[in-house]
C-alpha cells in the first residue's frame, strides 16, 4: 500500500514523475487519543523497496533513500503549487465534545466490622466486634465534565485509515485526481 502522485514532484533529490509515498510506522496511542504515523517520500518504487530490509541480517542501504520533506513543488498539466508533507502526521481517535460522568480515583480507607475472640477479666472466651480497616484504590468522587470520547472501535485496518487520512491531507494541496493509491 502506498500513494503515488500523477505529475512532476520537484524535491531536494531532483524531480521525479514516479514519486512514491509510503507510511513507515504507525503508533496507536489511545492514552493520547490519537494515531500517529509517518509518511516517507521516495523518488520511485524501486528506491522504496531498496530502503526496506526484508530479512534480519540484510545489509543496510548504502545511502539514505527517503527524500527530506523540504522545498518541494508539484506540477501536473497547468497546475503548479508548492507541496508540503509533514514528517509525523496525526489521526485523531477522539470524537466531538460531549458531557460525560467522570470517575475520580484515589486511595480510600475502608472498614468492616468482624467478630473476633477476646477474653473477659476472668479469662473466659468472649466474642467481640472489631473494626477491620484496609486501603483500597477506588472511585472517591464523580463529576459531569465535557470530554472528547475515544473511538477505540474503528472498523477496518488502522493502516488503510492512515492512508485515507494522508490522501485527504494531500488533496488539500493538489487536485485529488493526481493522487493515486497503489
Amino acid at each position: 500500500m502506498a500513494i503515488t502522485l500523477d505529475g512532476t514532484l520537484s524535491t531536494l533529490a531532483g524531480a521525479t514523475t514516479s514519486s512514491y509515498i509510503r507510511i513507515e510506522y504507525i503508533k496507536y496511542m489511545p492514552y493520547a487519543g490519537l494515531v500517529e504515523y509517518n509518511p516517507m517520500l521516495f523518488k520511485n518504487e524501486t528506491e522504496a523497496d531498496i530502503s526496506r530490509i526484508r530479512y534480519f541480517g540484510d545489509d543496510l542501504p548504502t545511502s539514505m533513500l527517503p527524500i527530506p520533506h523540504t522545498s518541494m513543488s508539484f506540477e501536473s498539466g497547468s497546475f503548479s503549487s508548492d507541496f508540503e508533507l509533514n514528517d509525523i502526521m496525526v489521526l485523531p481517535l477522539s470524537g466531538a465534545l460531549q458531557n460525560v460522568s467522570v470517575d475520580h480515583y484515589g486511595i480510600a480507607l475502608q472498614s468492616a466490622s468482624i467478630e473476633v475472640t477476646d477474653f473477659d477479666d476472668d479469662g473466659n472466651e468472649i466474642v467481640t466486634q472489631e473494626i477491620m480497616k484496609w486501603q483500597e484504590f477506588s472511585v472517591i468522587s464523580q463529576s459531569i465534565e465535557e470530554r472528547h470520547p475515544l473511538d477505540l472501535s474503528r472498523s477496518g485496518s488502522i493502516l488503510s485509515q492512515c492512508y485515507e487520512h494522508l490522501k485527504n491531507s494531500i488533496a488539500e494541496q493538489i487536485p485529488s485526481g493526481s493522487i493515486l493509491e497503489i
Binding site: T117, D118, F119, D121, W134, Q135
Partner: protein, 296 residues
C-alpha cells in the same frame, strides 16, 4: 508436637525490643499453651535476645530455649526472617513454626495429620520479585515462577521431616546467594519469594498435599482478604477471624496509631490474651517492661 518460635534481634540495637513486639511474642506462646497444653514449645533466639528475655523473666514460658548458631552469610537486617528457614532445615521431627505475631484461639490438633498446613494463600504483588528478576536468573537454582500464589508462613506445619529439611536448606541457600549477588540492592521482595512463594511452588511441583488455615486469598495490594477462595482451606473468613489472628503489617499501624489502629487498646487486648492463659501476671510483666524495655 514440637512448636517453634524464632526471635532474632537482626538490628543489634536495643530499640529492636519494643513493648508491642515482646507482648505479641508472649501472647503468642501463652495462647498456644492455653489451647495446646501437651505441645512442646521451643524458642530460638540470638545471644542478645536471650539476655533481654532473661531480664524480662519470660523464658519459662517455653519448654526449651536454644541460642541460634549459624554461619550462613545472609544479610539478616533486610532478609530478617533468614533464621527461620535455618531452624526448619535442622529439624529432626515433624514441626510447627509460628511467628511471634500469630495468635491462636482454638485447639487445632485434629488438623495436624500428614498434610502441610500454612496460614493462607496470598496473591503476588510488589512484595515479591517476579520471573523477570535478573538476579534470580543468576542463582544456581533459580525460582521458576510456574504459578501465581505465595504461602503465608506466619503459621507453618511441616509433618514430613525430609521435605522440611529440603525446603529450609533451599531457602537458606537462595538467601545466601541473593545476599552475595545484590549487596546494597537487596530488598525484602527476595525474602518473600524465597520463603513464601517458593514453598507454594515446591508443594505444587512435588504434588505434596497441603492445606491453609484460611480459605480466602489475601490481597497484598489491598491488605485484606479477597472474596476469592482456594479449595484447600480449613476455615471460612468468619471462622478464621475467631480462630486465629496474624498481625502482619498491622503492627506498624498499631505502633504508629495510624489508620484507626490504637496502640493502647491493642496492648490491653494482648494483656487479656496473656492473662487468659493464667501463665503470667500482667502486673509483674508491666513492672519488667518498665525496667527493661525502652521502646513502646
Amino acid at each position: 508436637m514440637q512448636v517453634k518460635w524464632v526471635y532474632e534481634n537482626v538490628t543489634g540495637y536495643d530499640s529492636f525490643y519494643s513493648k508491642l513486639n515482646i507482648t505479641l511474642l508472649i501472647a503468642s506462646v501463652c495462647l498456644w499453651k492455653k489451647y495446646h497444653p501437651k505441645h512442646i514449645t521451643n524458642l530460638y533466639v540470638d545471644n542478645t535476645t536471650y539476655d533481654k528475655l532473661i531480664l524480662l523473666d519470660i523464658l519459662y514460658l517455653w519448654d526449651n530455649v536454644e541460642i541460634l548458631k549459624y554461619a550462613d552469610r545472609i544479610n539478616r537486617v533486610i532478609l530478617w526472617a533468614g533464621c527461620k528457614p535455618k531452624v526448619i532445615s535442622q529439624t529432626k521431627t515433624p514441626m510447627l513454626i509460628v511467628d511471634h505475631d500469630f495468635l491462636i484461639f482454638k485447639n487445632i490438633d485434629e488438623h495436624l495429620k500428614d498434610e502441610v498446613i500454612y496460614s493462607y494463600d496470598e496473591d503476588m504483588s510488589q512484595w515479591y520479585i517476579n520471573s523477570d528478576d535478573e538476579y534470580n536468573k543468576q542463582l544456581t537454582n533459580p525460582i521458576e515462577f510456574v504459578q501465581d500464589k505465595a504461602a503465608n508462613v506466619s503459621f507453618l506445619y511441616l509433618p514430613d521431616v525430609n521435605f522440611a529439611i529440603e525446603y529450609g536448606q533451599q531457602t537458606v541457600g537462595r538467601l545466601t546467594e541473593f545476599t552475595a549477588l545484590l549487596g546494597d540492592n537487596l530488598n525484602t521482595g527476595y525474602l518473600s519469594a524465597c520463603e513464601q512463594y517458593e514453598l507454594k511452588e515446591m508443594l505444587i511441583k512435588s504434588k505434596i498435599k497441603h492445606k491453609t488455615l484460611n480459605q480466602n486469598i489475601y490481597s497484598c495490594n489491598n491488605l485484606k482478604f479477597k472474596e476469592e477462595k482456594n479449595n484447600i482451606g480449613i476455615w471460612d473468613l468468619k471462622e478464621s477471624f475467631l480462630s486465629y489472628k496474624h498481625y502482619g503489617v498491622d503492627k506498624r499501624n498499631i505502633f504508629d496509631n495510624k489508620k484507626g489502629y490504637k496502640y493502647v487498646e491493642s496492648i490491653s487486648y494482648l494483656y487479656r490474651c496473656i492473662k487468659a492463659s493464667k501463665l503470667m501476671s500482667i502486673e509483674y510483666l508491666e513492672d519488667k517492661f518498665n525496667k527493661h524495655i525502652k521502646n513502646r
